[in-house]
């Protein structure tokens, strides 16, 4: 039973690390800042949550701290990404030429 849990935890760790790697690859390869933020935030949030779940499988007595870190990341990571994207939009960061729709611009620059 505990060997099975160890194997599950190690597999979750490897999967989360693979998601981190793909997120960082997207961060390096995407054409403009908005695409980079999307790749860098979504994939790395999922990867970190998988890594924390894997650590909780390997060491079940650590679950309260791991749950706290996971919840904190889940709440703050999209928020910081959104704030950074809005700041980039207001400072007029260049868009990729493939992007054709900008609804924030059409609605007048996002309020306030």
């Amino acid at each position: 039973m505990t060997a099975l849990l160890d194997l599950l935890g190690a597999a979750l760790l490897a999967a989360g690390s693979a998601f981190l790697m793909f997120g960082a690859l997207g961060l390096l390869r995407m054409p403009d800042i908005y695409n980079r933020l999307q790749a860098g935030t979504k994939a790395t949030t999922l990867g970190t949550l998988l890594v924390l779940a894997g650590a909780a499988c390997l060491r079940p007595e650590w679950w309260p701290k791991l749950l706290l870190i996971g919840l904190f990341l889940l709440f703050t990571n999209p928020l910081s990404s959104q704030v950074l994207a809005r700041a980039a939009h207001r400072t007029g960061a260049p868009r990729s030429p493939l992007t054709r729709i900008d609804q924030l611009e059409e609605r007048g620059g996002g309020g306030s």
Binding site: A10, L20, A24, T41, S80
Partner: protein, 86 residues
């Protein structure tokens, strides 16, 4: 099997670290570098969890919690500065 998967995890994490560091070096604007900084902090959290597993000390996870708090505050600060400096 478990040992091999843990080494695979470390190798993938190191690759992710190098890729995000490449974006931090190359990034044309400051906002790109802030995004890369955020990703580097998150990858460091993974590294801290791996170090805690390797050493078997649960106290290391407190540092990971401080890191999560700190990446949020840093990004908010820099975004505020970028918005004001238009």
């Amino acid at each position: 099997m478990v040992e091999g998967l843990l080494y695979l995890t470390a190798a993938l994490g190191a690759t992710a670290f190098l890729l995000a560091l490449g974006r931090f070096i190359r990034g044309p604007s400051a906002a790109d570098r802030v995004a890369a900084f955020d990703v580097l902090t998150i990858i460091s959290i993974t590294g801290i969890v791996l170090a805690a597993l390797a050493e078997g000390r649960g106290i290391y996870l407190d540092v990971a919690l401080v890191y999560a708090l700190l990446s949020f505050l840093g990004v908010i600060t820099v975004a505020h500065y970028l918005e004001r400096s238009v």
